[in-house]
Amino acid sequence: MKATTSAPAEIARPQPAGERIAALVFRIGVLPILMIAALAVFTGLSDQFLTIQNLTNLLRQSVYLILVALGQMLALITGGFDLSVGTIIALTSVIAAMAMTAIGADLPDAAWIAILGGCAAGFLAAAGVGLVNGVGIAYFGVSPFIMTLGVQSVGFGLALYLTGGVPVSGLPPEFSDVLGFGTVLGIPTPVLICIAAILAALLLLERTALGRHFYAVGGNAKAATLSGIETRRVLLAAYIICALLAAVSGLLLTARTESGEANLGGTVALESIAACVIAGVSLRGGMGRVGSVVLGAIFIGLIQNGMNLASIGSYLQMVVLGALLVCAVIADQLRHRFQR
């Protein structure tokens, strides 16, 4: 008396050619196609574009966005997003810099204690912001949009208030020498740190229960709850880890600029969401791969770098970036429709 009737539903759909191409795009995403197109266009526009030096430069510059985009991806996978990543960078930068100068003033000979203390202070501040985001979203049910929008204003205001709008300078020179401009075996330290973060994110998402729970909560929060998953704790973890990754980016940027600034990370929320969405992270949650997001962030960097070389002004760059985000979301919608 075993199943006699389950066969018809499992017959594969017949696929015409158009649908096969669509299926291919669905699988690999639009990103590789966009990447090749952008490479071709910018190579045509500027002969400095396709040089080893520019491309290494591009990778180095992309580090900061990659880190933020990895965090943003976690928030997106759980079905939310984080508009406050820019603010987290600013707060981290300002607070770390202030802590470093304060400790440095007391212990002028122990530069590394000052640096570590400053970084710890920065991480703590970021974790605090992530906690506030997470608690608001997970425990009070505030929509991620409102919560992180509000927090982004609060955080930015705090960063400006703490500094009076003036950059915090006088950081220990070792900080910039190592974390901003240093190299290990010829590889810039920021790149190494970024690679470590990418590996950690991969491990988290692919090989831990928490990572799987991120996808489950984003894919179907009700099902996750009824499966015995502490949905709220998972959301909280996502926003805190997102904030910590943004903080790493903030610290590296501080080291690069050699000062704590409230203006760091102004457009990073938009850029990081664009990087993720272009990389196929669904705004509905439950989908997203680390590798693609890294490529997505590099792609955003590539567009900016290419436009700089082609001497397209920053005003127009804003236009292009915004349009790109909207197009990526449209592509996501179409993909969703195809998936059904």
């Binding site: 199943a3 389950s6 018809p8 090989r207 894919g219 179907n220 009700k222 015995g228 998953i229």
Partner: protein, 502 residues
């Protein structure tokens, strides 16, 4: 003889990958009540959706009043006098009853709405069909039964020749059901044809003229309504009843779950019941009677407002799904796509989701072992008779029966002592049902406590050793063994004490 009102000639509907309806031919006379009978997924809904203009047949012909028709939309069908009342309500909760009744067809003059005339028309309409509802109330404030009545009333807005009712009594009380049947009789006299979907044999006896039985998209027979019940059920299931429902040994042990005067905001009002090891306890009742909510409250999915829950002897003042699951309580939600499965996950990841933190899935030094996870999924899939090749596919693409098997397998992934199956076989084929029932037998005889909450009366009646009947959020009867008969159960479906009290 005059041409029938509606004639289906060899109608077939092919959805991608599934033949939902295969060569159905039937007629509906003026003034006839024609019941469509079959399990979920048999093609009843597909059939009515084509008559109502939601879908178009792949091949075959629909003739209405003698002429072939193709309705591109519900709107077109309605213009010809065909109205459908579907199970899912199409009501806007924030708008008033009157606004809902005329939504999309508001009375206007010079392009402006006429709210007063609309209200009068709404009152008229409701009075004509004998429903008593305040037209100014927002629909969201109405009870489910009242919403159902508004939904039905919407069908009477324009000229009506053919009415389609999809399980209209699923949430109506006895009184409201009687009123609906009186209305149906009235329509019959006026020569309106009625296509009626129901699972209840009693209703068939009461109002049906003819019955078309569907199974797996095929038309099994069209018969006179006086056919014996047993024959009808066996026609629907395609096998003898004894082959579907296994005999489950009854060896009650210690009490696992004890609910005392449990109430929730979602509609449970002081329900008490106990569940023991080694027995299958059924809970039956109308939609909205609280049968699902009471178990959800015990699991922590719905909030408890009063009463006590004791699970394995431990009082649970505020049960939470995560803690209850760890303590050995599995709740299988009734809507697998909405609450049960992460559709984008492969079946494998869905099955192992509750057990990921388990030590046996840990890889050294931390993290998940993909191999261990795969092994777990494979073992569990075997127990529910889910073929290996389904494990890697996104669960959303599997058939309903296979999705349900995956959902059952999920409950086997951790140590569970109490299984609550809320509508365990919604929309699955008979073969899968037999598999799932066999699993329920295995679990209960293995010493677990099992609760089956179901709107499918034969299902709860045949599986349960003891059966609680609920109405109005309270337990109205506890039947056991031979006391469990359809008449006895139905008698307690309606909360008489509440009606006389109010």
């Amino acid at each position: 003889m005059a041409t029938p009102l509606l004639e289906l000639v060899d109608v077939t509907k092919q959805f991608p990958g599934v033949r939902a309806l295969d060569g159905v031919s039937a007629t509906l006379e003026r003034g006839e009540v024609h019941v469509l009978f079959g399990e979920n997924g048999a093609g009843k809904s597909t059939l009515i959706s084509m008559v109502a203009g939601v879908h178009q047949p792949t091949s075959g012909e629909i003739r209405f009043e003698g002429e072939p028709v193709t309705f591109a939309s519900v709107h077109e069908a309605r213009a010809r006098g065909i109205s459908a009342v579907f199970q899912e309500f199409s009501l806007v909760p924030t708008l008033s009853v009157a606004e809902n009744l005329f939504l999309g067809d508001e009375p206007r003059r010079f392009g402006l709405l006429q709210p007063r005339r609309q209200r009068a028309m709404a009152r008229d309409l409701l009075a004509r069909i004998g429903f008593d509802i305040d037209v100014d109330l927002p629909v969201g404030r109405l009870s489910r039964a009242q919403q159902q009545m508004v939904e039905i009333a919407k069908a009477f807005r324009g000229e009506l020749k053919l009415l389609i009712l999809d399980e209209p009594t699923a949430s109506l009380s006895e009184k409201e059901t009687e009123r609906l049947f009186a209305l149906v009789d009235q329509l019959r006299v006026r020569g309106i044809g009625i296509l009626y979907i129901t699972h209840r044999l009693q209703e068939i006896r009461q109002i049906a003229d003819r019955i078309t039985v569907l199974r797996d998209g095929r038309q099994i027979a069209t018969v006179d309504a006086r056919i014996p019940e047993r024959e009808l059920i066996e026609m629907m299931a395609g096998r003898a009843i004894a082959e579907i429902y296994p005999a489950i040994a009854h060896r009650p042990g210690e009490v696992m779950l004890e609910l005392d005067a449990v109430s929730t905001a979602s509609g449970v009002a002081g329900a008490s019941l106990t569940v023991r090891r080694g027995e299958v306890v059924g809970i039956a009742g109308l939609v909205g009677c609280g049968k699902s909510e009471v178990m959800r409250a015990a699991f922590g999915a719905d909030r408890l407002t009063a009463g006590t829950v004791r699970f394995r002897g431990q009082a649970q003042p505020r049960p939470r799904p995560s803690a209850m699951w760890r303590a050995g309580f599995f709740y299988l939600p009734p809507d697998r796509r909405e609450e049960g499965l992460v559709l984008s996950f492969p079946a494998r990841a869905n099955i192992t989701l509750p057990a990921l933190r388990d030590r046996r899935h840990r890889a050294w030094p931390f993290g998940l072992s993909a191999r261990a996870e795969r092994a777990t999924a494979r073992d569990l899939a075997r127990r529910v008779d889910l073929a290996d090749r389904n494990l890697g596919r996104p669960v959303g693409l599997l058939s309903g029966g296979n999705q349900q098997k995956a959902l059952f397998a999920k409950g086997l992934s951790t140590d569970i002592a109490l299984y609550v199956f809320d509508e365990p076989t919604v929309g699955v084929d008979v073969g899968t049902r037999a598999t799932l029932y066999a699993l329920i037998k295995e679990l209960a005889e293995g010493g677990a406590a099992v609760v089956v909450v179901s709107s499918d009366l034969p299902e709860v009646m045949h599986l349960s050793h003891r059966l609680y009947v609920m109405a109005g959020g309270r337990v109205t009867a506890e039947l056991s063994g031979p006391e469990i008969t359809e008449t006895a159960v139905l008698r307690h479906f309606f909360d008489h004490s509440a009606e006389t009290a109010s």
